[in-house]
Symmetry: C2
Subunit: 201 residues, 2 copies
C-alpha cells in the first residue's frame, strides 16, 4: 500500500496494520470504519486499550493476566495446591477453566519455544516455573501447551527439565475431538489417536 | 464466547469485537497481543484512534475524508471542473487517484444502496451530489460504484436520477482484469466482457 492518506488516517492505518493478522487492506478498512462511527464508539475502543494497559498486568506468581499483584486463581484458597497446569497463554487458562476438570494452579509460559523466531527458554517464564516447585511443594506438572510443533517442543523441553527434579510430569492427551468424525480427522491426529489408544475397562 | 475475563480485558475484547470482520476469537487474540506489547506501542494505537476522531472528518463538498472543511482534491485548482467521479468510499478515491487517469472532481456517497440492511438513498450523500450539479456546472458524472449488487443498484438509481437533469452519465467498464487469464475469469465477468465488447479500430 502506498502512503496514500493524509497524516492521522495513515498513522491509524499503520498502527492497526501492526496488529497480528491485520494486513494492510484490513487496516485500511478498520481505519475507515473508525472514521465513520460516532466519536463516542471509537473513543470507547481507544479508552479500552489505555485502561487495559493502565490496570492489567501479569500475576507475579503464575503470569496469568491480573489486575492485582497475585491473580484470583493463585489467591483462591479453595483450589488444590501441589499440581500445576502449564499453559502457553492466558487464553488457555480460560479454556481449561471452562472444562471444570482442573482444580489446581496454573503457570503461564507466555509463549512456546520457537527457535525460528528466536524464542528460546529464556523468553518464556520457565525459570519462574522452576522457582515455584519447592515453595509450593509441587508434586505434579501437567503440560498443556498446544498440540503443534512449538507446543510439543516446549512440552519435551519442560519434561526433560522437570523429571530429574522428582515431580510427576504429564501431557494433555492427543486424539480425535469428541463429537468428531473419524473420516474427517487429519492423518496426524488419527495416527496419534491410534498410538495413544486406551484399553477399554 | 463467555464473559471469561476480568473487567478491562473483557471490555477491550468487546470493543475489538465490534470492529467489522473481527470475530470473538480474533478480538481475544488482539486483546492479548495488546496486553503483551510494551505500553508505548499499545498507546500509539489508542492515540491514533483519538487523533483521527479529533482531527479528521469529511469534506463538506465531496464527503471524502479531510482534515479541513474542504479537502485537498476539492480545493486543488489544477484539477478539471465539470466532471465528477462518484464513488462509494474514500478508499475508492485513493484507488482511482493511483491510476492517474482521472483529473476531475470526486463525490463520495459514503456507502451503496442496500435495502436488506436498510440503506436507502437518504443514508447516502445523494442529495448533496445533486446540489453540486448547478453551482459547479457539472456536465458529466462518472459512476464508479463497485461492480457488485449494491454498487450496480446504486449506479442504476443514480443514472435514472441524473439523466433527466441533462448531465452525461457514464459507468466504469466491467470486463476481464488486465493481465488476467480468461480461463480463470468467473462466468459473470466473462459474460460482461462479451456483452461490453469493443470494436478494434
Amino acid at each position: 500500500m502506498s502512503q496514500a492518506y493524509e497524516g492521522p488516517i495513515q498513522d491509524l492505518i499503520d498502527e492497526l496494520g501492526r496488529l497480528p493478522g491485520i494486513g494492510p487492506k484490513s487496516a485500511q478498512r478498520l481505519a475507515f470504519h473508525l472514521l465513520k462511527v460516532p466519536a463516542a464508539d471509537a473513543m470507547r475502543l481507544a479508552d479500552a486499550i489505555s485502561e487495559v494497559k493502565r490496570r492489567v498486568s501479569f500475576c507475579s506468581r503464575c503470569f496469568n493476566v491480573s489486575e492485582h499483584e497475585i491473580c484470583a486463581l493463585c489467591s483462591d484458597s479453595r483450589r488444590e495446591d501441589g499440581v500445576i497446569c502449564v499453559v502457553e497463554e492466558p487464553r488457555d487458562v480460560v479454556a481449561l477453566e471452562r472444562t471444570g476438570e482442573f482444580r489446581g494452579r496454573y503457570h503461564v509460559l507466555q509463549g512456546a519455544l520457537n527457535p525460528l523466531e528466536g524464542v528460546g527458554p529464556d523468553r518464556l517464564k520457565v525459570k519462574e516455573l522452576l522457582a515455584r516447585l519447592d515453595p509450593e511443594s509441587i508434586t505434579e506438572v501437567i503440560i498443556c501447551t498446544n498440540p503443534n510443533i512449538e507446543g510439543e517442543a516446549t512440552a519435551m523441553y519442560l519434561g526433560r527439565l522437570l523429571k530429574p527434579l522428582g515431580v510427576a510430569v504429564s501431557r494433555l492427551a492427543s486424539g480425535l475431538p469428541v463429537g468428531g468424525d473419524l473420516e474427517y480427522a487429519d492423518e496426524l491426529t488419527l495416527g496419534r489417536a491410534i498410538e495413544q489408544r486406551r484399553s477399554l475397562d
